[in-house]
C-alpha cells in the first residue's frame, strides 16, 4: 500500500502533530499532542461512512493498458477480468484485420456498475506492438501516449478556473504480456519494461499459460523474476513504495508469485455441475478461475479487489508528480509533444 516516500521528518508517526507552517502564519501553532481520552461517543468514525457515500456518488475512473504481441490473448484476458466485452476485440474489431504497420493506440471506454459502485473503465490496446520485423523503439508511441495523458491532466490542474473533478485519463496500470516460451524474456520485453517501468505501473503476466506444465511454469517464473531484477526493472508493486511492515509483507508475498501465469476465456462450460469460465481441450477443461489450473484469480484479486485504489494512487502521487516536476523544471524548451498534443486532441475532443 502506498503512501509515498517516507520523509525523515517521520510523517508516519501520527502522534506528533505540528502542522508545520510553510510560511509564517498569523498565529503560532502550539502542538498539543495529547491523545485526548474520550469520555463518550462523539461520532468521528462516521466519517468513514460519509466518505464512502461520497465516493460512490462520484464514481471511479480506471484506465488499463494492455501491451503485447498480437495473438497473446490480451483482449480475451481483459474481457475475462471485467466479465464483460470491454476490449477492442468486441467493439467491432475484426480478427481478420491486418496487423497494423505501426503501433497504434486504441482506447475504448465503458461504464460498468457493481454493488452501487460505478466505474468508468477504459481499456487501452496497443495493436502492432512487437509485430514488425524491425521493432526498434516500438515502445515510443506508448510512452508518448502515457506522457500525453499526464500532460492533459497537468494542463487541467494548472488552470485558473479548474473543473470540480478533473477527468482522469492517465494510465493506471499496464499489463505486459510475456510470451510463454519457457526460456526467458525476450530483448524486446526487457527494453519495453526498462523504459516504461519509470512512468507507469507495469504488471507483467505470462500469457497463454496453459502451454506450460506446473514445473515449467515455476521455473519460467523464477527465471523471469531473476532477469527483471538483474535488469533493474521494478514492476508494480514497487519495493520502494512499501509504506510499513504490513504492506511490505503483503507485497512481498505478491512479488514472489509474480508474474502471474494466466489463461483467459469468455466461454462457459459445465464442470461438476457448475458453470465455469474455461477453455475446452481434448484432454480436459481448463478452468480459468481455478487456482490449481492457472493464476487468473490471483491476478484479478490483486488488480481489482485489493490494489485498484493503490494503482491509481501510485500513478497520481508518484508517476504523475515525477512527470510534473520534470515538466516544470524544464522551464527552457517546450517539449515538442505539447504542440502535437493540441493537434491530436483537437480532433478527438
Amino acid at each position: 500500500m502506498f503512501k509515498g516516500p517516507v520523509e525523515n521528518k517521520n510523517e508516519a508517526a501520527m502522534s506528533e502533530l505540528v502542522p508545520e507552517p510553510r510560511q509564517k502564519p498569523v498565529v503560532p501553532m502550539k502542538p498539543m499532542g495529547i491523545n485526548a481520552s474520550l469520555l463518550g461517543y462523539i461520532g468521528i468514525d462516521t466519517i468513514i461512512e460519509q466518505m464512502r457515500k461520497k465516493t460512490m456518488k462520484t464514481g471511479f475512473d480506471f484506465n488499463i493498458m494492455v501491451v503485447g504481441q498480437s495473438g497473446l490473448g490480451k483482449s480475451t484476458l481483459v474481457n475475462t477480468l471485467f466479465k464483460s466485452q470491454v476490449s477492442r476485440k468486441s467493439s467491432g474489431w475484426n480478427r481478420e484485420e491486418k496487423i497494423p504497420k505501426t503501433v497504434e493506440i486504441k482506447a475504448i471506454g465503458h461504464v460498468i456498475e457493481e454493488g452501487g459502485v460505478k466505474m468508468k473503465l477504459t481499456v487501452i490496446d496497443t495493436p502492432g506492438f512487437g509485430d514488425q520485423i524491425n521493432n526498434e523503439n516500438c515502445w515510443e508511441p506508448i510512452e508518448k501516449y502515457i506522457n500525453e495523458q499526464y500532460e492533459k491532466f497537468l494542463k487541467e490542474e494548472v488552470n485558473i478556473a479548474r473543473k470540480k473533478r478533473i477527468p482522469d485519463t492517465r494510465v493506471h496500470c499496464c499489463l505486459y504480456f510475456i510470451s510463454p516460451t519457457g526460456h526467458s524474456l525476450r530483448p524486446l520485453d526487457l527494453e519495453f519494461m526498462k523504459h516504461l517501468s519509470k512512468v507507469v505501473n507495469i504488471i507483467p503476466v505470462i500469457a497463454k499459460a496453459d502451454t506450460m506444465t506446473l514445473e515449467e511454469k515455476t521455473e519460467f517464473k523464477q527465471r523471469v523474476r531473476k532477469e527483471l531484477e538483474v535488469n533493474g526493472i521494478e514492476f508494480y508493486p514497487q519495493k520502494e513504495f512499501d509504506e510499513d511492515l504490513e504492506d511490505k509483507t503483503e507485497n512481498d508475498k505478491i512479488r514472489e508469485s509474480m508474474p502471474f501465469a494466466v489463461v483467459g476465456s469468455d466461454k462457459e462450460y459445465q464442470v461438476n455441475g457448475k458453470r465455469v469460465l474455461g477453455r475446452k481441450t481434448p484432454w480436459g477443461i481448463i478452468e480459468v478461475e481455478n487456482l490449481s489450473h492457472c493464476e487468473f484469480a490471483l491476478l484479478r484479486d490483486f488488480v481489482i479487489r485489493t490494489h485498484l485504489q493503490d494503482l491509481k494512487e501510485v500513478t497520481h502521487n508518484i508517476h504523475y508528480e515525477t512527470y510534473r516536476a520534470k515538466r516544470l523544471n524544464d522551464n527552457g524548451g517546450l517539449p515538442p509533444m505539447t504542440v502535437e498534443t493540441e493537434e491530436n486532441h483537437e480532433s478527438n475532443l
Binding site: 509515498g4 507552517p21 474520550l38 462516521t46 464512502r52 501516449y145
Partner: protein, 430 residues
C-alpha cells in the same frame, strides 16, 4: 518505418455494460476508505464569538474532552487567533482536530478591524496550501491540511437581532469559509422568544446576503435529515462538561435553582442537532466544500491577481509554463530596467558630488587667497604701527634725554645757588 502513433480513438459514447459475474471492484470504496483511515483525517474548526460566550465549553462538550486552559481576559488590545491541535481516536479512525479560537473578539471599544485577523488567518492557511500545490517537488498526499473546514459563529443570546459586528464579520467570512451560525448560552432565552429570535436572525442574514453553509440535500440518504435540520438553524446550544444526576443516569447538564438544563435533551437545546450536523453527517462534505469551493475561489483570485490568465487575447489556452516564461521575462526585464535606472542615478549622483566637491575646492582656494591677502595687509599694518611706535619711542627717548639734561643742568644750577645761599648764610653769621 515510421512509428508515430495514429490518432487515439476514444470511444466517447460510453456504453453501459452489464457484468456477467462478480468482478469485485465494489470493494473500491473500501480500498479508498482504508487508505484514508491509515493516514488519518484532518478537521479544523474556527470558533468566532465574544469573550465569555462559551466557545471553549462548547468544544469540550462536542468532543467529550477537557481541551484546555484558562479563559481569556477582556483586556485584549486586539483580536488574535489561537490555534490548538489535538489528536482524537475513535475505533480505528484517527482525527487530527484543530480548534482555532478568536481571543478578544468584541472586547475593543473600536471594533472596526475585528474581522481582519480572522480573514488573514483563513487566507494564510489557503496560501500555505496553494504554495505547496505550486511547488515543483510537492507532497500533497501527506500534507497536513490546516484550512478551516467549519466556522462556528457564536451569536449572543440577546433575543432581539444580530449585532452589526456579527453581520459585518459574517459578510466578510462567508465567501471564505463554511459558516454555521449558532446561538450560544441558549438557556437564557425562553422557548417562545427563541423561535422569534431564530427567524429574525435568519431573515437578517438573508436580507444582508450572508451565505451560510447549506447542508447538502443532493444525496438521498442524507437529504432528508439535512432538510429537517436546516429548519432549526441557527442552532441554539448550551454547553456543559459537568454532569448532573438525572433519573438514574449521569448526563451533561447545567444545574439551576429552578431546574436542570440537559445538554443532550432535544427539548432543551439544539446541541444534539449541532453534533449530528457538524460531525456525524456532514463532516466530509464540509471538508469537500472547503477544498472545492472556498479554496478554489481563493486560488483563482490569487492567481488572477498575480497576472495569470487562462486564455490570451486570441483565446487560445495559455499553458502555465508559457505564462511563467512570460512573467519571468517580464520580471527579469523589469529587474534589468531597475538596475539600469539605479546605475544611471548612481552615475548622476557621482557627477553631482564631484561638481560640488570641485566648487568647494575652488571656494577654499579663494578663501585661502583672501586670507593670505588679509594676512599680508595686517602684517603691513602691524609693521607700520611698529615703525610708528619706534619713532615715538625714539622721540620719547630723545625728549627724555633732553629733559634729563635739563634737569641735571637745573640741579647743578640749583645746587650752586644753594651753595651760594649757604655761603651767604654762613657768612652772615660770621
Amino acid at each position: 518505418m515510421s512509428l508515430i502513433s495514429k490518432n487515439v480513438q476514444m470511444n466517447d459514447d460510453l456504453r453501459n455494460l452489464s457484468l456477467s459475474g462478480h468482478v469485485g471492484f465494489d470493494s473500491l470504496p473500501d480500498q479508498l476508505v482504508n487508505k484514508s483511515t491509515s493516514q488519518g483525517f484532518c478537521f479544523n474548526i474556527l470558533c468566532v464569538g465574544e469573550t465569555g460566550i462559551g466557545k471553549s465549553t462548547l468544544m469540550d462538550t462536542l468532543f467529550n474532552t477537557k481541551f484546555e486552559s484558562e479563559p481569556a481576559t477582556h483586556n485584549e488590545p486586539g483580536v488574535r487567533l489561537k490555534a490548538r491541535s489535538y489528536e482524537l481516536q475513535e475505533s480505528n479512525v484517527r482525527l487530527k482536530l484543530t480548534i482555532v479560537d478568536t481571543v478578544g473578539f468584541g472586547d475593543q471599544i473600536n471594533k472596526d478591524d475585528s474581522y481582519k485577523p480572522i480573514v488573514e488567518y483563513i487566507d494564510a492557511q489557503f496560501e500555505a496550501y496553494l504554495q505547496e500545490e505550486l511547488k515543483i517537488k510537492r507532497s500533497l498526499f501527506n500534507y497536513h491540511d490546516t484550512r478551516i473546514h467549519a466556522c462556528l459563529y457564536f451569536i449572543a443570546p440577546t433575543g432581539h437581532s444580530l449585532k452589526s459586528l456579527d453581520l459585518v464579520t459574517m459578510k466578510k467570512l462567508d465567501s471564505k469559509v463554511n459558516i454555521i451560525p449558532i446561538i450560544a448560552k441558549a438557556d437564557t432565552i425562553a422557548k417562545n422568544e427563541l423561535h422569534k429570535f431564530k427567524s429574525k436572525i435568519m431573515s437578517e442574514l438573508v436580507s444582508n446576503g450572508v451565505q451560510i453553509y447549506q447542508f447538502p440535500t443532493d444525496e438521498e440518504t442524507v437529504a432528508e435529515i439535512n432538510a429537517t435540520m436546516s429548519v432549526h438553524l441557527p442552532f441554539a446550544v448550551v454547553g456543559s462538561t459537568e454532569e448532573v444526576k438525572i433519573g438514574n443516569k449521569m448526563a451533561k447538564a447545567r444545574q439551576y435553582p429552578w431546574g436542570v438544563v440537559q445538554v443532550e435533551n432535544e427539548n432543551h437545546c439544539d446541541f444534539v442537532k449541532l453534533r449530528e450536523m457538524l460531525i456525524r453527517v456532514n463532516m466530509e462534505d464540509l471538508r469537500e466544500q472547503t477544498h472545492t469551493r472556498h479554496y478554489e475561489l481563493y486560488r483563482r483570485c490569487k492567481l488572477e491577481e498575480m497576472g495569470f490568465k487562462d486564455t490570451d487575447p486570441d483565446s487560445k489556452p495559455f499553458s502555465l509554463q508559457e505564462t511563467y516564461e512570460a512573467k519571468r521575462n517580464e520580471f527579469l526585464g523589469e529587474l534589468q530596467k531597475k538596475e539600469d535606472e539605479m546605475r544611471q542615478m548612481f552615475v548622476m549622483r557621482v557627477k553631482e558630488k564631484e561638481a560640488e566637491l570641485k566648487e568647494a575646492e575652488k571656494d577654499l582656494h579663494e578663501k585661502f587667497d583672501h586670507l593670505k591677502r588679509t594676512h599680508q595687509e595686517e602684517k603691513k599694518k602691524v609693521e607700520d604701527k611698529k615703525k610708528e611706535l619706534e619713532e615715538e619711542l625714539n622721540n620719547f627717548q630723545k625728549k627724555k634725554a633732553a629733559a634729563q639734561l635739563l634737569q641735571s643742568q637745573a640741579q647743578q644750577a640749583g645746587s650752586q645757588q644753594t651753595k651760594k645761599d649757604k655761603d651767604k648764610k654762613n657768612a652772615s653769621f660770621t
